[in-house]
């Protein structure tokens, strides 16, 4: 074999020599990969062992210093390390660990500065590699370095989305209140250039904490960009809303942008008794908004606060073209309790199949059917016959599971018979038996059924 190879090397044609050199190259590359894999594993094994030891070593002493709340110049000198060395990484990890423990921020924060970490990460912002820059930005955000906030704003002018996303996030984490107006100006430009997504802005703003709520409100009031206003409302709506937030949302209910109106409605829904504080005219307009997701949020808000004065509008939304609105409207009606029975029955008797299905679905998923059955059982209702008809229609549309479940567990035979009838008799049969349904032992039920007939 070797002789043959030597012969090719000395006397082979051009193509043979080329093949031999490619094979040699590939063999060499494979060997290099193998060696790199092995040496890397050895190196990493050693590195992580060392890091573990160093972390274990520094944690008690740093915790002790944090408890004491002071650190000597000598300690600082001992803790200093060459950037990216094992000691540097171990101390940084330990400090981050302490940072997560309550009450340590005032001690650990300045320590990062004194040990040179902040200077190192600030310097990373000037590097050319975008990932290095983004890593530096991210660290500065985690360390809440307020001195870097202005620099992070400058980073938003870069063209690299990697850097921009990291800068938006870090800026919000730092939460430098004074710079937020400029930040929102920059965001508008970034959104125009499609350099950042709304989701990233919303997620980042939600990280900023409650301290920035006043500045968010202030910016929201002055901002002309509906996307930013919408993001602010979204974030404020997800946090627990107070009076000022509620007023801000209220002022945006008539905004020209439907996204803003919808987000404002979400905030309103989260505030107790907020719906009744608004004018009827506003709600009528919102419940009839041309944009479906505004109607959806409006009906949810009204439903959540159980406002009976809008029952008629909500009832009409059960016939909405969008199933989401139909379901939300039906759900809102369930909030009215027993009073909704007649409304449901009216719609269930209509010819709109989709509305009927939405109602039946919601009646089941919200536990309304169970509530009705419980009322029937306790004899606390004056709508017995309507309920019976609702069950009958539900059964005819195939919504029988909860009724069947009830049948299986109830001991009240009188109601069981009604449910059984509602489930199994066709409309004609039911009407035939309705005047005096056979086998009904309870006088109350019989009376109700007779009155229904």
């Amino acid at each position: 074999m070797t002789d043959r190879l030597m012969e090719i090397l000395y006397h082979g044609t051009g193509i043979e020599l080329m093949l031999v050199s490619i094979i040699g190259g590939i063999g060499f590359a494979s060997l290099v990969l193998l060696l790199v894999s092995v040496s890397r594993r050895l190196y990493n094994g050693h590195k992580y062992r060392l890091l573990d030891e160093l972390r274990k070593y520094y944690l008690p002493s740093l915790r002790e210093m944090a408890l004491a709340g002071k650190i000597s110049a000598q300690d600082i000198a001992n803790l200093r390390a060459r950037p990216r060395s094992a000691k540097w990484i171990a101390i940084e990890d330990t400090l981050f660990l302490l940072l997560q423990e309550d009450g340590n921020r005032s001690f650990v924060g300045p320590l990062f500065e004194r040990l040179g970490y902040l200077a190192f990460y600030r310097a990373m912002l000037s590097r050319r590699n975008p990932i290095t820059q983004a890593a530096g930005i991210s660290k500065l955000g985690m360390l809440k370095d307020t001195h870097s906030a202005a620099r992070l704003l400058e980073m938003l002018d870069k063209n690299d989305p990697e850097i921009i996303v990291a800068a938006v996030r870090a800026f919000c984490e730092i939460g430098e209140v004074a710079l937020f107006p400029k930040f929102f100006d920059a965001l508008s430009t970034l959104l125009d250039k499609r350099s950042v997504t709304m989701k990233i802005i919303e997620a980042s703003l939600s990280m900023a904490g409650r301290e920035v709520t006043p500045v968010l409100l202030q910016s929201g009031r002055t901002c002309k960009d509906p996307r930013i206003v919408s993001a602010i409302l979204k974030v404020l709506g997800d946090a627990s809303a107070d009076n000022s937030v509620y007023e801000f949302a209220l002022s945006n209910l008539g905004h020209r942008d439907p996204e803003v109106r919808a987000k404002a409605l979400k905030v309103i829904a989260a505030c107790e008794d907020s719906v009744s504080a608004c004018s009827h005219k506003t709600w009528y307009r919102l419940l009839k908004d041309p944009v479906w997701f505004v109607r959806l949020q409006a009906v949810r808000a009204v439903g959540k606060q159980r406002c009976k004065e809008y029952t008629e509008e909500i009832s009409s939304l059960v016939l909405d073209e969008k199933w989401q609105v139909r379901n939300a409207a039906a759900e809102a009606l369930t909030g009215l309790g027993e009073d909704a029975v007649e409304i449901f029955l009216k719609i269930l008797k209509s010819s709109d199949k989709y509305a009927k299905e939405s109602i039946c679905e919601v009646l089941q998923t919200t536990g309304f059917v169970e509530r009705l059955l419980s009322l029937l059982e306790k004899g606390l209702t004056t709508h017995g016959s309507s309920m019976y008809e609702i069950f009958k229609i539900m059964a005819s549309l195939g919504f029988t599971s909860q009724l069947s479940d009830y049948l299986n567990k109830t001991e009240d035979r009188s109601i069981a018979v009604i449910i059984d009838l509602a489930q199994h008799e066709t409309a004609q049969e039911v009407s035939r038996v309705l005047p005096i349904p056979p086998g009904l032992p309870s006088r109350r039920i019989r009376t109700e059924l007779r009155s229904a007939s």
Partner: protein
């Protein structure tokens, strides 16, 4: 006649050499791109704000759709792993696709489910739904019982039922890691171009220790077939997919673990029920649709969200799986052949489609015919012995090199296999797979052409049971593809 034959054989051999050279050049390019990309991504994931996102109300809700047909205990494991994901708002939709072995009853018992009547809105046409099951103590789990219609039909049913803007499809024998969904969504949230579909890495769970519905100890399988597949998956995911992703040329996201934007999936009409590899078909259709619509979009492969799946552990089961994958590839390529070299479809038409057509689809034909042709040429003295041997050695060396690179990339980046023994075993099997395993794979893929050409109407489908698969047949064009994930 003799001269013609000789000329043909020699000519074909030159073609094989040329084809081989071009393919390997492309692989080398992919490898280089993938290595650079993975190294950059590894640095990036260190500052991904996963912890913050995990509790953020701004993270969009996701529905996890699990289609299942006659699945055993592994389905419970899959459901429990999905229920335990670190994600702020997720729902799990299990579709019982007409199981006949009492799977639904087992599910009802296991999760204490109760029947509930919901409105089934058929945005996508599917086989009829028989019922919905729910437990109010597990509000984010819903089981849908439907008539048998195949995996695509079950997935379409899941899309109809789901109410989230995104849905993730996972196989019934696949466990997703707790952060996997969040990692996918982080990429979606950050991307300024709307990501309509994205997928993560599928890893082999054979041999691993599974406790509390997650992989706790990573180990290698004892069977050599599993080891070959690990190397194959590493190579396929860490350099093939990553490389193609950087070229915006990915036409496949593994059906075992992918996430889709619901609206985009509805726009293209959901999963195709007449294709054996619905995961590839929908991606190609999405590319086509979005290109024609001229809307900005991205389909991404993300290399760190991980799910674990069982791979076939018998030759027979594996052969069936590979034939099916290749048949799906052929079906998809032929169905969308008008996209080939068509500048209207941009990179998809000019790069991805030609790559999948000429490299992925035709390579087993060239390889199998090439083996025959070169052997014939050698025995009839139509080829120079030295040249023949050198070419053979080159083919083996380069194949081994690519496999070793897959293992190397794993070592360089995620290092999931912790022991020294793992590293050397995988490297050894990376070399060994070029002696028989690779050829066997080519043969299975070659057979898929016959299935395609001769219009086999009885499609085979596989059901895995403790790592093995059972062969079953169903009639007509209903295609079963509940097998394992492709690398």
């Amino acid at each position: 006649m003799k001269t013609f034959l000789i000329t043909s054989v020699v000519g074909f051999n030159y073609f094989v050499g040329f084809y081989y050279g071009i393919v390997n050049l492309f692989y080398t390019m992919l490898l280089t791109i993938a290595t650079a990309s993975i190294l950059a991504y590894i640095r990036k994931i260190k500052y991904l704000p996963l912890r913050e996102l995990q509790f953020s109300p701004e993270v969009p809700p996701v529905s996890i759709i699990i289609p299942a047909h006659n699945e055993g205990e592994t389905l419970f494991r899959t459901i429990l792993s999905a229920l335990n994901v670190n994600y702020p708002d997720s729902e799990i939709i299990v579709i019982n696709d007409g199981s006949t072995d009492g799977m639904l009853d087992r599910l009802i018992r296991k999760f204490n489910l109760r029947r509930i009547d919901l409105v089934y809105r058929s945005f996508l046409k599917t086989m009829p739904v028989r019922g919905f099951y729910y437990n109010k103590d597990i509000p984010n789990l819903i089981v849908v019982d439907k008539e048998q219609g195949g995996k695509s039909d079950a997935l379409n049913c899941g899309i109809n039922v789901c109410r989230s803007p995104y849905f993730c499809t996972i196989d019934a024998d696949t466990m997703i890691e707790s952060d996997a969904l969040l990692r996918l969504m982080a990429a979606v949230m950050e991307s300024t171009v709307p990501i309509i579909a994205c997928g993560g890495v599928v890893r082999v769970s054979n041999g691993c220790t599974i406790e509390d519905n997650k992989v706790t100890v990573i180990n290698l399988p004892k069977k050599w077939l599993g080891l070959f597949q690990i190397v194959e998956y590493l190579r396929g995911f860490l350099f093939g997919r990553v490389g193609l992703d950087n070229l915006k040329g990915n036409l496949v996201l593994s059906g075992a673990f992918s996430m889709f934007e619901k609206q985009a999936a509805l726009e293209v009409g959901g999963f195709a029920v007449n294709n054996v590899c619905e995961d590839m078909e929908i991606i190609v259709r999405m590319h086509k649709h979005m290109r024609l619509k001229k809307a900005p979009y991205a389909i991404r492969f993300i290399s760190d969200p991980v799910c674990w799946t069982e791979v076939p552990s018998t030759i027979r089961a594996m052969g069936r799986q590979r034939r099916r994958w290749h048949l799906g590839l052929i079906q998809t390529m032929m169905r969308y052949k008008t996209m080939l070299f068509n500048p209207r479809y941009g990179k998809t038409g000019l790069l991805a489609m030609p790559y999948y057509f000429f490299v992925e689809m035709l390579s087993p034909v060239v390889e199998v015919v090439g083996y025959v042709s070169i052997t014939v040429a050698y025995f009839f003295d139509m080829i120079n012995y030295d040249f023949f041997m050198l070419f053979l050695i080159l083919a083996i060396f380069y194949g081994a090199f690519l496999s070793v690179t897959g293992v190397f990339l794993e070592e360089l980046t995620y290092r999931r296999y912790p022991k020294w023994q793992h590293l050397f075993t995988l490297l050894f099997f990376g070399i060994l797979e070029n002696f028989g395993y690779r050829q066997l794979n080519s043969l299975w893929r070659f057979q898929a052409f016959f299935q395609y050409l001769f219009g086999k109407q009885q499609w085979e489908y596989s059901r895995k049971h403790r790592g093995d698969e059972k062969r079953e047949h169903i009639d007509g064009n209903i295609v079963r593809s509940l097998g394992a994930a492709r690398p």
